[in-house]
Symmetry: C2
Subunit: 128 residues, 2 copies
DNA sequence: TCTATTGTACACTGTATATGTACAGAGTAC
DNA sequence: GTACTCTGTACATATACAGTGTACAATAGA
């Protein structure tokens, strides 16, 4: 379970867990049928309360990634992509992407470096 | 003041304002010497309380973008880029970028479309 | 000097986040 | 079948944060 969180971050822990797991799910590091650690176990690893992990699992369950049941725990579902993409989601993505880039620029990152990073990720996406 | 916010979003309004203004600042849509609208005025435009706008201005002031004074309002400062880039910031950027992409993928966006968007932004960055 | 306009301070309310604790359900050992 | 243990769930609570209401302080300009 290659997952790290930052307790100092302003981003809520449960959302960090959701984001981290979603990356693993989207990239096939977690596949249908795989089981996730019990909430108490992962919570111990991460140093948070198990209810915080449970909240994260529940969120991913509502997104359709996980099947969660007592005793058997959380299992990755074969997930069919959403039928249609919400049109406003595209706009939201562009906006959040620009926000992120602006924030990084504000921290002094050179445009070239940022551009390179974006291209690198684009290539990774298409290679998969 | 081309700035829009989403009151339904889970992202706090004041941070949306910060993010939106930072984009304008980084991209030279707002330049040193320019004055921003008074907090009450912008708040009215956006449909929020003026203290919420004031909080956003204060944040950008602490980041070194704005000089804020009573009566004269908020003015864009000539901002020298941070001397050195925090090394952990690079890692954080990559991570947040991957998180954003994973989230969008989870919403059903095709990898190709996302990759195209990333490349488009990369080009925009280098053209400036 | 007076007034209007600006940002600031701070108390208050509602919401979100994280935790503590008790519980419910379903396998497993016997 | 019963007891036990391991799983997630429910809900009360503590705390922090976001947003607002209201009063105030500072200053440019008439």
């Amino acid at each position: 379970m290659n997952l790290r969180i930052d307790l100092q971050s302003t981003i809520p822990v449960y959302r960090q867990i959701v984001d981290g797991l979603r990356i693993l799910l989207v990239n096939g590091k977690l596949n249908p049928g795989d089981t996730l650690p019990p909430v108490r176990r992962l919570a111990l690893d991460l140093g948070v309360h198990f209810n915080t992990v449970a909240e994260a699992y529940r969120t991913l369950g509502e997104e359709g990634w996980l099947q969660i049941e007592r005793r058997s725990g959380a299992r990755v579902l074969p997930r069919t992509a959403p039928d249609r993409v919400a049109p406003e989601a595209a706009e939201g993505f562009q906006r959040r992407l620009r926000e992120l880039v602006a924030e990084v620029q504000a921290h002094g990152f050179a445009r070239g470096k940022i551009a390179r990073e974006l291209r690198r990720l684009a290539e990774t996406l298409e290679r998969t």
